[in-house]
């Protein structure tokens, strides 16, 4: 459907055919591709680098509050509050970057985005509801507020992400999902305090690596 308004005075084609040589066309093709890619990117290298610091700070804060506990009772309320504050700042920064990149863009598959958000968000929330059931069943603080709380969110979100990636033949998403599952599994072997430290380090390394890859990708024609 033609929805374009009539131009008051249609300008002449000021760039007639043949006004650009092939070399200039290739340069224009490359520069425009890079500019558009950067303009539409919702998770640019700077955002990913920032998130890597956020994960390290949040998990580091939680690990710091439990590192010498014996018996283990879980992160202090202050540490949990600080971790949530750090996460909230990251949410605001990420949303800002997303809003700028998607300004004026109308998604063709918005309902699919919502469904995928549900597939990732509901299992993540379920982990924390599951906490209550574990405590009611008599599991120790070390299990509930240690190994499980640290590793389970990564495990379920990673599994959901890997499933979504496999369904869409999206190898990058599949790899990230499997990476989350692997990190959570390895971290569980480091005990209730160690699992926070391992996941903080793994999250930092993973996101920093993604930032580097994203930077290279965005500057490669």
């Amino acid at each position: 459907m033609n929805a374009l308004p009539q131009a008051a005075q249609p300008p002449p084609d000021d760039e007639p055919q043949g006004s650009i040589d092939a070399g200039a066309a290739e340069a224009l093709l490359t520069s425009t591709t890079l500019a558009a890619r950067q303009g539409f990117e919702t998770r640019g290298p700077l955002v990913l680098a920032f998130l890597s610091i956020v994960v390290l700070s949040a998990y580091g804060t939680l690990w710091w509050s439990v590192r010498d506990q014996n018996p283990y009772v879980g992160p202090s309320l202050g540490a949990i509050g600080a971790a949530y504050a750090i996460v909230m700042v990251s949410v605001v920064v990420s949303l800002g970057a997303y809003t700028r990149a998607r300004d004026g863009v109308r998604a063709a598959h918005r309902s699919q985005d919502v469904l995928e958000g549900l597939a990732l968000g509901v299992p993540w929330l379920a982990v924390f509801v599951f906490d209550g059931a574990l405590r009611a069943d008599g599991f120790s603080f070390a299990i509930v507020y240690g190994v499980f709380d640290a590793a389970a969110p990564w495990l379920v979100v990673g599994a959901a992400l890997a499933g979504l990636g496999a369904g869409r033949r999206d190898t990058a998403r599949l790899a990230i999902g499997l990476g989350l599952v692997l990190a959570a599994t390895v971290a569980a072997f480091f005990g209730p305090a160690g699992s926070w430290a391992v996941l903080g380090a793994a999250g930092f390394a993973g996101l920093a690596a993604m930032a580097v890859i994203q930077r290279i990708r965005m500057h490669r024609p």
Partner: protein
């Protein structure tokens, strides 16, 4: 191979930039007229003229949205437009590098 092998509709700087910019979006996503204009730094009249030529060729489609708080004209690259850009880029590489 000569310049004549290149799609004359795309082989114009403004139209090349329009098609390449829209191709950077996921398949089927639409871009608002004001955002496209800002990204390309073209006057509205000039942009409309080029969009109309590309739309007449079936390389893109435009539609108006008047609900969901996002009224205005949106532009989408069609599958034919995406194929035409791929062919253009391939022909350009063949012309310049002989591949």
């Amino acid at each position: 191979m000569t310049d004549a092998a290149l799609d004359p509709l795309i082989h114009v700087p403004a139209r090349l930039r329009i098609v390449v910019t829209l191709a950077a979006l996921p398949d089927g996503d639409a871009l608002s007229f004001p955002r496209l204009q800002r990204m390309l730094d073209l006057t509205p009249g000039n942009l409309i003229t080029h969009l109309r030529k590309l739309e007449d060729a079936g390389y893109l489609r435009t539609d108006r949205t008047d609900n969901d708080g996002a009224s205005g004209t949106y532009v989408t690259l069609t599958p034919a437009g995406r194929r035409a850009l791929d062919d253009y880029a391939r022909s350009l590489r063949a012309l310049l590098h002989g591949v």
